[in-house]
Amino acid sequence: MADVTLIEAVRLAALQEMRRDPRVWVLGEDVARGGLFGQYGGFVEEFGPQRVVSTPISESTIMGAGLGAALVGTRPIIEMRIFDFVMCAMDELVNQIAKIRYMFGGQAKPAVVVRMPHGIWRNSAAQHSQTLESWFTHIPGVVVAVPATPADAAGLLVSAIRSDDPVLFFDPKNLFPRRGALADIIAPLPFGQARKIRDGKDLTIVSWSAAVPIVEEAVETLAARGISADAMDLRTLWPWDEDAVCASAARTGRLLVVHEAVTTGGFGGEVVARVVERLGPGALRRVARLGQPRVPVPFAPPLEDALKPDAAKVVAAAESLLRD
């Protein structure tokens, strides 16, 4: 058991899996130099340039070649460097990877992991800050992982690498320095199981990825004000833990979903809709979502801060949910 940063945890997870299975390899820009965030540090030295392939700036082909290599039986980790660049590889991801098993009637399972460090990070402005995880919940054929802690990120990455499904793995850029305990042997963590952040009875708070630390902070403040939040981290959005969320919402009657992504069209809408469909509106007193407004991410720190969800906004939203 070690205390490590999130970025070190995912490095160790990929390392473990590459040692375990010689079919696993990684391709992407600068990965033989350790990757943009050091998440592949030491890999090329251990596995060589055939399994740690620093590629040209060719996102379409990074994605498409990963798919091709999966179709003949290897298990590529496709590194996109920064989420936003996946926009250059959407045909390969959405039209090819996600559909190929179905279109071909099950003749092939494209066992790829697509890693996309995402989120608002250090005033990187609109083209390097997007959080569009909800898009991929809408695409049949893929699994969507959005971890927030070192142990979850590592465990989900192990599952992702071992899974025959294409897994879209959203490394949370802003949480890379976050520390936590990590087992020496990283066990696969199942998809679709939420993690309880805090038990409570007054309202349910659902979050994932970069919103998790915000919620952690907010529930402490709320607790100090006598409000007991039942807060959870979904960890994966497809599949997602409907049962856990519904059970909690049925108990508290109040549901708040917090995510860094733009509220409109975000996965919070899906969570709310599903809970209301399943429990019936009558089971709930109030629901709300808190995300980024429908505005691109601005560069200037005060502007970025003004738009981005934070603990104070979570507290305010929670308190308003309790005022009937």
């Binding site: 060719s58 498409g64 091709g68 390969e92 090819q96 099950g106 003749q107």
Partner: protein
């Protein structure tokens, strides 16, 4: 003409006849309302798939485009499964989920047609990279049209294959047209060979309506690839005798253009050569007749074949988080 050579030409002839018969049969079935969805036939272009694939081995792989029947057949895909797939039946290679545009037969290394122009290029280079990683000596052949060379993946994929010295044969089937637009009006520069060359991929041009010439050229290029020479490109000029899809009359063509082209179509040409070189007309007729009989039987069988069970619509999506059929 040596016996070997004769046998080879007859093999080319047989495969071309089978492709032609398959597609003509499919076209008729489409017109009769038996085949749904869009259908892109390669009638007139059979020599390219045929000449190339004759040089491939069972564990070599191919990727294809929207006009993929010929590639699949030439690589050895089962006819019954192909015809049933076009008909959307349960016994299709893709269980009726893909149709003509997504024909695939992994059991013979046919990694799939593609509904996206140039979509097969990155898949092909990745497959080659994966095969090498697994210690296989198989190669990959990637078919695409002249329209595909104006999409980014052409540059990225050829650069990639060249960089990593991958065993890929790129085959540009140049029928001079993309959908309804002439290639020359949308393609600048000296053409696909020059583009490939600039990306470090050597290649040759060939008369793509001459099956024997395609066979020769492909055999040389593939030998170079198997010898570890890295990727190569084959530029095969040909002519699309039909419209873009089964329902496209291609009225924009000049009067007489298609008729003139018919004189150069690959099956007649090879037939004329074989006859000139002493093959028996009866033997050739038998080959052709067999092909038509095979495809006609496949059509009847497909028409009689069962539709997929509705429950299968929910299958083959993913293992984890698969949608559940409402009960």
């Amino acid at each position: 003409m040596s016996g070997d050579n004769r046998a080879r030409l007859l093999a080319l002839y047989a495969t071309m006849c089978r492709i032609r018969a398959f597609e003509e049969t499919a076209l008729a079935a489409h017109r009769a309302g038996e085949i749904p969805g869009p259908l892109h036939v390669s009638i007139g272009q059979e020599a390219v798939a045929t000449g190339v694939c004759l040089n491939l081995q069972a564990d070599d792989r191919i990727t294809s485009n929207h006009r993929g029947h010929g590639h699949a057949l030439a690589k050895g895909a089962g006819v019954a499964g192909m015809m049933e797939e076009l008909f959307g039946r349960a016994g299709g290679h893709c269980r009726g989920k893909g149709g003509s545009m997504h024909i695939a037969d992994f059991s013979v290394g046919m990694l799939g047609a593609n509904g996206v122009v140039a979509g097969g290029i990155p898949i092909a280079v990745g497959a080659a990279q994966g095969l090498r990683m697994l210690g296989s000596s198989a190669i990959v052949c990637c078919f695409f049209g002249d329209g595909a060379i104006n999409r980014g993946p052409f540059l990225e994929g050829l650069n990639w294959a060249s960089l990593y010295d991958l065993p890929v044969l790129f085959v540009c089937e140049d029928n001079g047209v993309a959908a309804f637009t002439r290639a020359e009006s949308v393609t600048a520069g000296a053409g696909v060979l020059a583009r490939a060359e600039a990306l470090g991929v050597a290649g040759v041009s060939v008369d793509g309506n001459d099956a024997a010439a395609v066979d020769d050229a492909a055999s040389r290029l593939i030998a170079e690839i198997r010898a570890g020479g890295g990727p190569r490109l084959l530029h095969a000029t040909t002519y699309r005798l039909m419209g873009h899809t089964s329902t496209d009359p291609a009225r924009w063509r000049e009067a007489g253009e298609v008729e003139a082209a018919r004189a150069h179509e690959p099956i007649l040409r090879l037939r004329a050569r074989l006859l000139a070189e002493g093959a028996a007309m009866k033997a050739l007729d038998a080959i052709e007749g067999d092909a038509w009989a095979e495809m006609s039987a496949a059509r009847s069988a497909a028409l009689a074949a069962p539709w997929p069970d509705l429950a299968t619509a929910w299958e083959d999506v993913q293992d984890i988080g698969a949608a559940q059929e409402a009960v």
